[in-house]
């Protein structure tokens, strides 16, 4: 039985991966009130982008320390292009249509992307091994960071800091906030809201791609369906934190990761619950949490609004 600090760190690491993917849901929702259910697949194709760089672009036997930054770049390029294409050709034509239309499109797109990888990626019908970093595990005090998690440990906080800086401090970031809060008035300020929407899709995809590389390293494989459960979890994280709020996505991700890890670790200790502590129940606890949040705090943890006084 692991002790609590170790479990908390495991939970934070898992949660930061959820958070990275959750950003895309929340950014797009915040700006166009669309739940981009294809976002899980935008995450998935990023994983394949990274793998492609490793398998088909770099020479055999390239050290992971050299390969990883390039794989990350490949992941980001593939995810971002997919997201921009989805926005341009699937969602933009439906802007102003009833809400159900883009939602159905998103689900269709999600299946299409899965099937495309399944059919056309060499060996894509099975799980493909993802290259691993050598060395580790790493000891920090009494806590162990697994080799596959070290990427998350380093990159997740950096990514979140970059995002926060971008949104709060840059001109485009301010334009993004304005567009989320009042799109018509944002136009009056001279903000090209169409461009902001593309940027939101692209940024969300870039963070999902970082998440996908983290996923490959953590679980050692990528697979055409990997975006389904992870996408749902990240969506849960976004709702948990308060959809539309980027800090909410991060916090929701971390909270979900911790809750899931602690549930898996400790629920079996509760008398009569021993059969519910296995890893396969972790997903169930994640979605139980989603349902509880929707019931008792539908606006999420940070979803409180400053009233727009009439």
């Amino acid at each position: 039985m692991n002790e609590l600090p170790q479990q908390l760190v495991n939970g934070l690491l898992l949660g930061s991966m959820y958070g990275l993917v959750a950003i895309g849901y929340t950014m797009v929702y915040g700006i166009v009130q669309l739940i981009n259910f294809a976002h899980g697949e935008i995450f998935m194709v990023g994983g394949f982008g990274a793998l492609t760089v490793y398998l088909y672009v770099l020479p055999d036997g390239t050290s992971m320390w050299v390969a990883l930054p390039l794989m990350l770049l490949g992941a980001i390029i593939v995810s971002v292009l997919t997201a921009i294409g989805a926005e341009r050709f699937a969602y933009r034509p439906l802007r102003g249509a009833p809400r159900l239309a883009p939602l159905i499109t998103a689900i269709g797109l999600s299946l299409a992307l899965q099937q495309a990888v399944w059919a056309w990626y060499p060996g894509g019908e099975d799980s493909l091994n993802f290259p691993q970093i050598e060395g580790g595990p790493f000891e920090i005090g009494s806590v162990t960071i697994q080799t596959g998690d070290i990427f998350l440990f380093v990159v997740a906080p950096i990514s979140m800091a970059i995002l926060a800086y971008f949104v709060m401090r840059t001109r485009t970031g301010r334009g993004m906030q304005a567009t989320a809060q009042d799109p018509d008035t944002a136009k009056l300020m001279g903000i090209n809201t169409d461009r902001i929407i593309v940027i939101a899709f692209a940024l969300g995809a870039a963070f999902a791609a970082v998440g996908a590389v983290a996923y490959g390293l953590k679980y050692g494989q990528v697979q055409f369906r990997m975006g389904f459960i992870l996408g749902l979890k990240a969506f849960t994280a976004a709702v948990l934190g308060g959809i539309g709020n980027i800090y909410g996505a991060m916090i929701g991700g971390l909270a979900l990761g911790i809750a899931e890890t602690l549930a898996t670790a400790y629920i079996a200790d509760i008398p009569g619950m021993h059969q519910f502590g296995s890893q396969s129940w972790a997903d169930v606890w994640a979605f139980v949490l989603l349902i509880l949040v929707l019931l008792f705090r539908p606006q999420g943890l940070l979803g409180e609004r400053v009233a727009d006084r009439a």
Partner: protein
């Protein structure tokens, strides 16, 4: 000399409902022009069309010699036309300072922007005191000041104000009207939509009276102020 803004036979519809039915008016540089009229007359619709937020069904809009009909909304402000919308529409979850900076979104002159932020704080000291506060926490009147300050941040040639006195106390109302006069003195041209016809007409060089999508009367501010039908309909006299 042609006018700064010329509107000709402008028609705007929401689906099948015609809200503006072919109006023509003009605004000369340096003037204050007011549009008054009953609720639902089409004043806000007119301003939103000038800003590009609504597409006209027909007619012409020429601003500073250029047609605005094909210009997307987000490019209008860079041509020198700023709009403080009805109901203020400040960005509630951003700070007062960020709201002002958004008004200067397309400007690149950092020092000029800083000066203008300071000018907004001089004009409305309460905004300076609260600069780091979320704009949504301001009172209605304070939000109105912010909306006006924000519109000025683009250094517009023509400032459109849609009911700047809405929900303000008489004192605040006077201050807003004095600010409008001051802006005119500094050379800003203003198109003012107001419910308070008395105040608007007293300030205005020219006024237009709208009723259900049409302009039914026009004249100098003083003429309209003394017009019998205007006094009856808008100044509450019988």
């Amino acid at each position: 000399m042609t006018a700064l803004l010329e509107v000709e036979d402008l028609r705007v519809a929401y689906g099948k409902i015609q809200a503006v039915k072919g109006i023509s008016f003009s605004v000369e540089a340096g003037q204050i022009v007011t549009l008054i009229g009953t609720n639902g007359a089409g004043k806000t619709t007119t301003l939103r069309t000038l800003s590009g937020l609504l597409k006209p069904v027909g007619g012409q809009i020429r601003f500073n010699g250029k047609s605005l009909k094909k210009v997307p909304a987000h490019q209008i402000v860079s041509m020198g036309l700023a709009h403080s919308p009805e109901g203020r529409h400040i960005f509630p979850r951003m700070t007062i300072e960020d709201n002002l900076l958004l008004g200067a979104f397309l400007r690149k002159d950092k020092s000029g922007i800083e000066q203008d932020v300071q000018r907004a704080y001089d004009l409305f000291p309460i905004l300076g005191e609260r600069r780091k506060q979320a704009a949504g926490t301001l009172s209605g009147g304070e939000q109105q000041m912010l909306a006006m300050g924000r519109a000025l941040m683009s250094r517009p040639k023509l400032l459109m104000l849609d009911e700047p006195s809405m929900g303000l106390s008489p004192l605040m109302m006077q201050k807003i009207m004095a600010t409008i006069a001051e802006l005119k003195a500094q050379g800003t041209t203003i198109l003012l939509v107001e419910q308070n016809a008395q105040a608007a007409l007293s300030l205005a060089d020219r006024g237009y009276v709208m009723e259900v999508g049409n302009i039914v009367l026009s004249g100098s501010g003083q003429e309209l102020l003394h017009d019998e039908s205007v006094r009856k309909a808008y100044l509450g006299e019988d």
